[in-house]
């Protein structure tokens, strides 16, 4: 009880200080003589935001860029492009890079395709809002919570099918008689091979199972956006195609999909950026990147903070930045094209 009161006291105090400063500054600005008064008022309105942007984003970004050229626990030793070279030559680092590429490819395409599928088939179906809400619900959950939910699905305990509490392992063992080959108890999240294949290019089974989680989360977003876009396709257009002799399938692929092309690009780029920065899932499901599950964003954290290699971490941040820029650019251009009428 005391703790709860203390919590709300902290919140109230924090907000009061913040509001107090803001209005105090405005009051001070109002005491100034013209023309300073108006300028000071403008400063009170935009000043805090600009200060945060310059001090919190612009200067730190430049600093990070510089840091990426150094090494050492406090990044004091000049290393040139060494960090970048290390990323592309060291085999462990290449695994991180490989994983990230697979995350991006699989999660982006599958979530978008699931979104398109549901948007198509749910349209004007009985119970459409409920079905869509169910698929959309995971979007609200934290990635940590999602990781635990799926940890539970993937959990394995011994080899007795009847004692399994992980849904996947239970199904796997129960289906043994039906499926070809012998299904054995499997620790999915520790399996670094691609379903038995040991390859430098393919992601581990564990990574695949983690990617399923982000698909689970992102598909709802894709569904909602694409569904809205498809509802915006004029009925006349589809009906005209039908009269011209198109089947359902043809009408969908030739008319509806091209019509919502811009929205598909928006969904894909948005998902891509979210996936590129995946961190929480690796922390929750891959024990922070063990068993070859790390990704760029996860490695950025691990190297920068627990491992105290800020130079390398800064380099990874720069790589993320460089990867995001063209995606945002494509998205922005695409959205402008949509606004100006495809």
């Amino acid at each position: 009880m005391v703790e709860i009161l203390k919590t709300f006291a902290t919140v109230a105090f924090g907000l009061a200080v913040f509001v107090g400063i803001l209005f105090g500054l405005y009051w001070l600005a109002s005491q100034l003589p013209e023309p300073w008064r108006e300028r000071a008022r403008v400063a009170v309105f935009v000043g805090p935001a600009l200060l945060l942007l310059v001090g919190g984003l612009i200067i730190p970004s430049i600093y990070t860029g510089r840091l990426s050229l150094y090494k050492g626990t406090s990044a004091t030793k000049w290393y040139g492009l060494g960090n970048f070279r290390d990323l592309f030559t060291d085999s462990d680092n290449l695994i991180v890079l490989r994983n990230t590429v697979w995350w991006v490819i699989l999660a982006t395409t599958v979530s978008t395709i699931v979104g398109i599928t549901i948007a198509r088939f749910a349209d004007r179906m009985r119970g459409e809002p409920i079905a869509k809400a169910l698929i959309f619900l995971p979007t609200a959950i934290s990635l940590v919570g999602a990781g635990i939910i799926w940890n539970f699905v993937y959990a394995t305990k011994g080899s007795d099918p009847d004692k399994q509490f992980g849904l996947l392992t239970w199904l796997w063992l129960k289906l043994d008689p039906i499926l070809p080959g012998k299904q054995e108890a499997h620790y999915w999240l520790q399996d670094r091979k691609f379903f038995g294949i040991d390859s430098n290019f393919l992601p581990g089974t564990n990574t695949i199972f983690m990617i399923i989680v982000i698909i689970w989360i992102q598909a709802g977003f894709a569904t909602v956006v694409l569904s809205a876009a498809m509802k915006g396709v004029p009925d006349d257009l589809v009906e005209a195609a039908r009269i011209d002799g198109a089947t359902d399938r043809q009408a969908f692929f030739r008319i509806v999909l091209p019509y919502v092309r811009g929205t598909i690009i928006t969904v894909a780029t948005t998902t891509l950026i979210a996936v590129l920065k995946v961190f929480d899932i690796i922390q929750t499901m891959g024990k922070g990147g063990q068993f070859d599950t790390s990704t760029l964003a996860n490695d950025m954290y691990t190297r920068s903070f627990p491992l105290e290699q800020p130079g390398y971490g800064a380099m990874l941040a720069v790589i993320l930045f460089v990867a995001v820029v063209p995606i945002v650019w494509v998205n922005a251009r695409n959205q402008r094209a949509i606004r100006e009428g495809r």
Binding site: R39, F45, L53, P60, D123, L134, S142, V153, L167, W170
Partner: protein, 309 residues
Amino acid sequence: MTAATIDPVTDAMIGTPKDKTPVGTKAAKRLSSRKGAIAVWVIAALWTVPTFGLLISSFRPEEDIKANGWWNWFTSPSFTTKNYSSVLDTTIGAKPFSDFFLNSVKITIPGAIIPIVIAAFAAYAFSWMRFKGRDWIFVGVVALLVVPLQMCLIPLLRYFNSDYFPLNNGVPAIWLAHTIFAMPLAIFLLKNFIGSLPREIMEAARVDGASHMTIFLRIVLPLSVPAIASIGIFQFLWVWNDLLVAKVFGGGAANQPMTFAMVDMVGTKGNEWQLLTAGAFITMVVPLIVFLSLQRYFVRGLLAGSVKG
């Protein structure tokens, strides 16, 4: 994505009149089919089962959870709330789990309100105040949307740790970090909204004798409630669900939110599923309430926020 493009999406989610074309008309049958509907319901079920299983399990006694799967609950039902009481008392880094819930509250409320307020002030200035270079500065703010927050973690942590900085690591540092990272998107979205309010209303208020602060508080804020609610809810959930920012700026376990506690628990108590299921569900309660009660605003905010850099 602009605030203006969000509306149709939201309405489709909630169900607009267009949505409610009576079943059986020609148009209603257009591209969907029975097989398609079955596929949709199968996917919807697949999507729901994991969460549902977690929820059921969190109410099963420890022995049951560890003995067999939650689907056995249908044949041999059992119910307890003990998991919830024990997880709240479970200590992580010498603090009970309940403290982490309070930490999440402590971090999230100001972490959502402060950036929205600052961004709303800035958005008003970019829309309705006159100053030199206004439009160019705004373009610069929008350009910052591409900066991933990872670019700023190391230097910001160094600032926050330095002797000259008034905020030591802790909750205020997390507030500040979230405020910084929310800034470009919040300003961009709010400017789109506030800038599209009718010019004549602002002028009428000025003629009536209102100062900028009065116009902002008495007219612009009340009119921006839908936009602020959407963006505010998105920011609220973003902060509530965040792990990275808290982990980097929060210092020790004392200031960490529930997401941190859960990750820690997965590492140290990975097999204590009676705790993990209940704990996970506690972290999800607030977002689920928001989702179920404020779906319209939630969707709008999420779509607006999905471009977060």
